[in-house]
């Protein structure tokens, strides 16, 4: 049972110190692997690949994966399930507490002009960060990384099928406002498989 307590505490600390999204936990996880011997750098690269190609927040996916590996290595499948739950809960505990406190304070000071002034800047930065993240997704979605690495020309690396699909989805989401994004994601996955994108 000690191993689960340790797992909880270690993921609690990761959740407490990693600020700025799921991938920010990566350096902490690398350090955890080195300190405990629970997993290797190879495990980490598998974990990142799986976390990015499964639904859900990347940070939680990584905690789930590692928690399962650690638990199942210790005592089989049931322990793996328990490990994945404990690691994920450990990782979100600090955030839940901090956000509730911040939220409480915001409600109290909502009418302060200083809060309003600060949020004027925060919102602009927030949209800027979303744009930067979007550009990152766009780069991966529209360009073949292999072609770029092989030194092909810029135009050779462009993935035209993806650009066309993206344009169609954009048309659908702006034209038919009632469509749920989930429906469009499922549609895109099916199109991806049919056209072997």
């Amino acid at each position: 049972m000690m191993i689960f307590l340790e797992l909880y505490i270690r993921f609690f600390l990761v959740g407490l110190f990693s600020v700025g999204g799921g991938l920010a936990t990566l350096p902490f996880l690398t350090e955890m692997g080195e300190a405990t011997g629970w997993f290797t750098p190879m495990d980490i690269s598998n974990m990142v690949a799986i976390s990015e190609s499964t639904p859900g927040p990347i940070g939680i996916n990584m905690a789930t994966y590692i928690g399962f590996q650690v638990g199942s290595g210790f005592g089989g499948f049931g322990y793996g399930v328990l490990g994945s739950i404990i690691a994920s809960i450990g990782e979100v505990t600090p955030a839940v507490v901090v956000i509730m406190i911040v939220s409480k304070m915001l409600m109290k000071f909502r009418d302060s002009k200083y809060v309003e002034y600060t949020f004027y800047g925060l919102r602009a930065a927030s949209v800027g960060l979303i744009l930067a993240a979007w550009l990152g997704v766009l780069k991966i979605a529209f360009f073949s990384s292999e072609a770029l690495e092989e030194g092909s020309s810029f135009f050779m690396a462009i993935d035209y099928k993806s650009i066309i699909l993206s344009a169609v989805i954009f048309f659908l989401v702006t034209k038919f406002k009632k469509i749920h994004p989930i429906a469009l994601i499922v549609l895109a996955a099916v199109v991806g498989i049919i056209f072997k994108m």
Binding site: L16, S18, V19, G20, G21, G22, A49, S53, G56, P57, I58, G59, I60, N61, T64, F68, S72, F77, G80, S84, I85, S88, A95, V96, V98, I99, S103, Y117, T118, F119, Y120, G121, L122, R123, A124, A125, S126, V127, G128, L129, A132, A133, W134, L135, V137, A141, S162, L165, S166, A167, I169, P181, I182, I185, A188, A189, V190, G192, I193, M197
Partner: protein, 186 residues
């Protein structure tokens, strides 16, 4: 009780279909929380993202806690968060247990090429809605462009941008820069 269950289910649905992390769930949050349930507004959502980026933890979870807490207090925050992480536990847990080399299957890679293309379009649409509410004048646009460029081109932590932009917001307003501009426009 009914609202708690709804919070859990809505966030489970969002968590189960968000590919590519916290930013990719913005379109779904808008649809479920702003359009359908009217539990929050686009302005509040962007505030949650801003705070979620400079507080500990994962952005997606931070936003879930915020919305849940605002809707139904401490329990609401916990239920929304649990909803958000449940699909990950089931899906990633199953893959870790049963499928080795999941990401190497050809069919998975095809599906993901399609999903990534959709995510580009969906985030663009979501971002546009939020930009209209956030980029209210030239100073906001300047902050936005600087943050976007530096964040895309460098490895500087988002925390720095959010904190610096908050300070800029205070300075721009307190120094009277914005007011002077508004009066000039009149």
């Amino acid at each position: 009780m009914k609202t708690l269950l709804q919070l859990f289910l809505i966030f489970a649905r969002i968590g189960g279909f968000t590919f590519g992390g916290g930013y990719a769930m913005l379109p779904m949050l808008q649809k479920e929380l702003v359009d359908n349930k009217k539990w929050t507004t686009n302005e509040e959502l962007i505030d949650y993202y801003a705070i979620g980026q400079c507080t500990p933890g994962i952005i997606a979870v931070n936003v879930a806690t915020f919305v849940g807490f605002k809707t139904k207090g401490v329990l609401g925050g916990i239920f929304a968060t649990l909803g958000m992480i449940t699909p990950s536990l089931i899906i990633v847990g199953s893959i870790a247990a049963f499928i080795s080399g999941f990401q190497d299957y050809q069919v998975v890679q095809w599906a993901f090429s399609g999903i990534r293309a959709a995510v580009v379009a969906l985030i663009l649409n979501a971002m546009w809605k939020i930009a209209k509410k956030s980029l209210v004048d030239i100073f906001a646009v300047i902050i936005f462009l600087i943050v976007a460029a530096l964040s895309f081109l460098t490895d500087i932590s988002p925390v720095i941008f959010v904190l610096a932009a908050g300070v800029c917001g205070l300075i721009i307003n307190l120094s009277g820069l914005r007011k002077a501009k508004e009066e000039k426009q009149k």
